[in-house]
């Protein structure tokens, strides 16, 4: 727990918070300032907008610890504010609210527009409100209300203020030289989650019908039969693939394992099992696997099929891959094929290089020391991870 100093609506307070607690929760749960509303909790809906050092900010994606030393104004703190009073009157007159859920955040953004916009341009107001969602009014009354307040104030000779008067650089709310006091008595227990209840899926790998699929290919400087053999040996295959660990092989064609992947700030560990089928006549095969990331509670299943095509009179091999995958759970909410491809192509490149160097005799030491790098499931899981990226895109602020 961490104790921070805040000024909330003019009152100095010292709440003790967990680092993970966002500002809105501290205001609502500890200070009973429930005028700040929570909608999406990922920065999109605008209901939680309040003033941090006088400037609008999202209190749901701003952690309270990050605001040590800041001045916070909630909707409750605007009772005596001149602009807010004018907005309240105009909102009531123009039917600018119905259920009222968006209204506190709407007033915060509206007040900022009244301060900053030179004139009551409807387009500028609408763009300025694009980060505050209202599902009742269709915005018409809200825009009318804000226009009226801006027009009235400019007519009274009150000019717009660039940046609402802010002069210092850097994120609002983050104050240099204010260091929160942390009591070391409450260690974060993230590891416990990892080790608890992480039951490995059973070995019974069902056939899967992938929701998405795409092709990839690469060339290896070895004969098709050699490459085919490599693809049939799970431990070698795994050694070539980044991020995978085989934990058990109950049968030659059955694998239990884990794959850890990371894209930027995203990291996941999928545990599961896989089965390899081989067709020696056609130098083809497939790996079918399922896995689950305990942290994100996301499951994936997928299939990687391969076929070895001789090129250069059989001295080289073109490896043709078809990668199919399905995801279910929180990470599956948003999909973008492009990200998956981008990621898979990078993974395929690394994998191809590793296969090449393995087959060319330069057996990589890592492969011997830890012969547990599981590959094909890796691809599935990487694909799953890239979905993480996709989901984040849906949330992302550019």
């Amino acid at each position: 727990m961490t104790t921070i100093q805040l000024t909330v609506n003019g009152n100095a307070i010292e709440p003790t918070v967990e680092p993970r607690t966002h500002l809105a929760d501290v205001l609502r749960d500890q200070l009973d300032l429930t005028g700040t509303h929570l909608g999406c909790e990922h920065g999109v809906c605008g209901a939680c907008t309040l003033l941090l050092d006088g400037a609008p900010a999202r209190s749901c994606i701003t952690f309270a610890v990050a605001c040590a030393g800041a001045a916070i104004t909630t909707i409750e703190g605007l009772d005596e504010d001149e602009i807010a009073a004018e907005l309240r009157t105009a909102f009531a007159r123009e039917h600018a609210l119905q259920c009222g859920y968006c209204t506190p955040g709407m007033i915060m953004s509206a007040r900022d527009l009244v301060l900053r916009l030179d004139d009551a341009d409807e387009q500028a107001i609408r763009v300025g409100l694009s980060g505050n969602l209202c599902r009742c009014t269709g915005y018409a009354g809200i825009v009318r209300a804000i226009r009226a307040v801006i027009e009235a104030r400019r007519q009274r000779g009150i000019a717009a203020v660039i940046g609402a008067g802010r002069t210092s650089l850097g994120p609002v709310g983050s104050h240099p030289n204010t260091i929160p006091t942390t009591s070391p008595s409450m260690p974060v227990m993230t590891d416990i989650k990892l080790s608890s209840g992480a039951a490995v899926a059973t070995l019974d790998v069902p056939d899967v019908i992938p929701a998405k699929s795409f092709d990839a290919s690469f060339t290896v400087n070895a004969a098709p039969e050699q490459v085919f053999t490599l693809f049939g040996d799970a431990r070698t295959l795994a050694a070539c693939f980044p991020g995978a660990t085989i934990t058990d092989m109950p049968a030659p064609d059955c694998i239990e394992g884990e794959i850890r992947v990371a894209i930027g700030p995203l990291a996941a560990a999928f545990r599961g099992s896989a089965r390899i089928d081989r067709d020696e006549t056609n130098l083809s095969g497939r790996l079918i696997g399922t896995g689950r990331d305990q942290k994100s509670r996301t499951s994936t299943s997928g299939q990687i099929s391969w076929r070895m095509v001789p090129i250069d009179d059989g001295r080289k091999t073109r490896v043709l891959l078809t990668i199919g995958y399905s995801l279910s759970g929180p990470l599956a909410q948003i999909a973008r094929d492009g990200l998956v491809r981008d990621l898979a192509s990078r993974i395929t490149t690394t994998f191809a290089q590793n296969c090449d160097s393995y087959l060319s005799g330069a057996t990589n030491q890592a492969a011997r020391d830890q012969p547990q790098r599981l590959n094909a499931v890796g691809l599935l899981l990487d694909v799953a991870l890239s979905r993480l990226g996709a989901l984040v895109r849906g949330l992302r602020k550019p």
Binding site: P19, G43, P265, K295, R396
Partner: protein, 276 residues
């Protein structure tokens, strides 16, 4: 949702931040304004054991001149740039781009360094700063290095940051008064992330064009010559080779013809603006 538990450190200096980063051995995440990382934490897409909050480090909230170039500290916000709280060496390009990023409430905390470090392909700065020929200053225990933005961004959410390194500043070269810039993006709603993005820089003094196609789920497409105009240097709008742009997008993995059409149309708007 609420974020999973994490430990939190708020270093006073870059030096302290680098120390914490090294000690965490890859397990820590850097947070600046937190406007991209915050949502990911809340949705538990990211569950790092340690967050290192650099937003209050004073030396990252400064600007300085380096010859003609402007060096912007990593923790300068989009709103700082939008409002003109720093000198503009780009004849209005930077403030104009900043104004179009997400929402004001986000711009008040979101930072230019955080945006680049996050490396979302649809981020305005990724495409814009590539077009402007900006570079990123990376600081690690071993010292500083500078990388062109085009080299720094290595894929969707992937950068050239090495373990233990931090984005500390962005270097913006000044534009000559004759330089022309065009920019367009397609969003379903203002402030939402872009589905297509194009930036065009024409520098008659240097007989140089740079065209960047962004928001394509991988590194931006950068064209540094006149090939998109069939080699022409005048009447570029009329000379714009849409078929070539389409092929470049195809090569970059944009397989959906409708998506390519949007990208090409958005780029055409950017070209039209730059040549108007």
């Amino acid at each position: 949702m609420k974020a999973a538990s994490f430990n939190y450190e708020r270093p006073k200096s870059v030096r302290d931040a680098l120390g914490l980063l090294a000690k965490a051995e890859g397990e820590a995440r850097i947070m600046a304004g937190g406007q991209s990382l915050g949502p990911m934490l809340n949705l538990r897409l990211v569950q790092p054991p340690l967050i290192i909050d650099i937003a209050s480090i004073a030396e990252l909230r400064t600007i300085e001149h380096d010859g003609d170039a402007l060096v912007i500290g990593a923790c300068v916000t989009h709103a700082d740039i939008e409002d003109g709280r720093l000198p503009d060496v780009t004849h209005g390009v930077l403030p104009r781009i900043a104004r179009g990023i997400a929402y004001r409430a986000v711009r008040n905390r979101g930072t230019i360094g955080g945006s680049l470090g996050h490396a979302d392909p649809a981020a305005d700065w990724v495409t814009t700063l590539t077009a402007l020929g900006a570079s990123v200053q990376l600081t690690g225990a071993a010292g500083q290095r500078d990388l062109a933005v085009a080299e720094f961004i290595q894929g969707a959410l992937q950068t050239a940051l090495r373990p233990g390194e931090l984005v500390t500043a962005i270097r913006i070269p000044s534009l000559s008064s004759t330089a022309r810039f065009g920019y367009a993006k397609a969003c379903r709603k203002p402030g939402e992330f872009a589905h297509a993005m194009g930036a065009v820089l024409i520098e008659p003094d240097k007989v140089r064009n740079r065209i960047v196609i962004g928001a394509i789920d991988t590194t931006p497409i950068v064209v540094n010559d006149s090939s998109l105009f069939g080699g022409a240097t005048t009447h570029l709008t009329q000379q714009f080779d849409r078929a070539l742009a389409d092929r470049l997008l195809m090569q970059a993995g944009v397989t959906d013809p409708a998506a390519r059409h949007i990208h090409v149309s958005v780029l055409a708007r950017a070209i039209a603006e730059a040549t108007a």
